[in-house]
Symmetry: C2
Subunit: 179 residues, 2 copies
């Protein structure tokens, strides 16, 4: 019925990665798929409790996320990963590890992300209290050829998730039963 795949949401803080991955996860489970949702914050609370936010630690965080995702996919799960993963090389390595990999660029202008500033982190980063914050004190390298690009400043959650579902269906990762 479906070929396991890892859908990897990357983007700036407050771009909408977690929201979109979680909603895609919910929709796929409704459609009867076995899924696994791996969020960066969740990984940091478990297997990456030893890591910080330096460039090297972020690379290691992405490596572990990719290894976890690959393992879940091997068990037949469709995996949704929401991870900042600011480095192109990290995402290329994840693609290499995983194989069936769909990179979703959650694209949103920095000023829009910063206006959302859900947890007040952009403000602290601008004030210098929060170092190495991606988009302010640390770089984000946008994907060059992502499978999917979602413009969260222009399209709402259902529209964005609809694009992901449509892509997965077209790519043979999901066979929707037509009611």
């Amino acid at each position: 019925m479906s070929r396991p795949v890892v859908v990897w949401f990357t983007g700036l803080p407050c771009s909408g990665k977690t929201t979109l991955a979680a909603e895609t996860d919910r929709r796929l489970r409704e459609l009867g798929l076995a899924t696994s949702l791996l969020d960066g914050d969740l990984i940091r609370r478990t297997v990456s409790a030893d890591l910080g936010y330096s460039d090297a630690d972020r690379t290691e965080q992405a490596r572990r996320a990719a290894a976890l995702a690959a393992e879940e996919a091997r068990r037949g799960k469709t995996v949704l990963v929401a991870l900042l993963s600011p480095r192109r090389t990290s995402r290329a390595a994840a693609r290499e590890t995983i194989g069936d990999f769909v990179e979703v660029y959650v694209r949103c202008p920095l000023e829009v992300c910063e206006a959302r500033d859900v947890k007040g982190m952009y403000r602290q980063a601008r004030q210098g209290t929060l170092k190495d914050f991606t988009g302010v004190g640390a770089p984000y390298e946008a994907p060059e050829r992502p499978e999917i690009t979602l413009d969260t400043d222009q399209e709402d959650v259902p529209a964005c998730v609809g694009k992901v579902i449509a892509y997965l269906e077209k790519a043979g990762h999901l066979t929707l039963s037509k009611g």
Copy 2:
């Protein structure tokens, strides 16, 4: 025009603490107040990077949050704290440290929080991957006499924030200019 105060949002994971604190912060700034938003995740990324999720570490996290909030209030800021702070003793200590303290119980049934499960953490906690997760593997002690209780399963964000603003005005922490 206003007497500085610390508004402390406590509640289960996914109850709505961050959303409500951030929206209250936004509204208060619109009203011309100097504010400071202290979110648990932000504090964990900065001054509490050495702490985990044991009972002792959570107590220390709440102690640091209270100290930071007290300092900001001393500088004339109205402070919004969004912190799980599952222990009554921690919140009582924060009240003691801070003085002008408004405890907001973000009340939401566990099953509703768990259904939201924004980052997939409840699921991982049920599967045993995520230890010490409040509400599943670790206790949450509900406030006994909070200044404000917000039922986020019944009322939407504007209604909840409206209650906080109304309380602050009544308590003399905010003098709204009547247009």
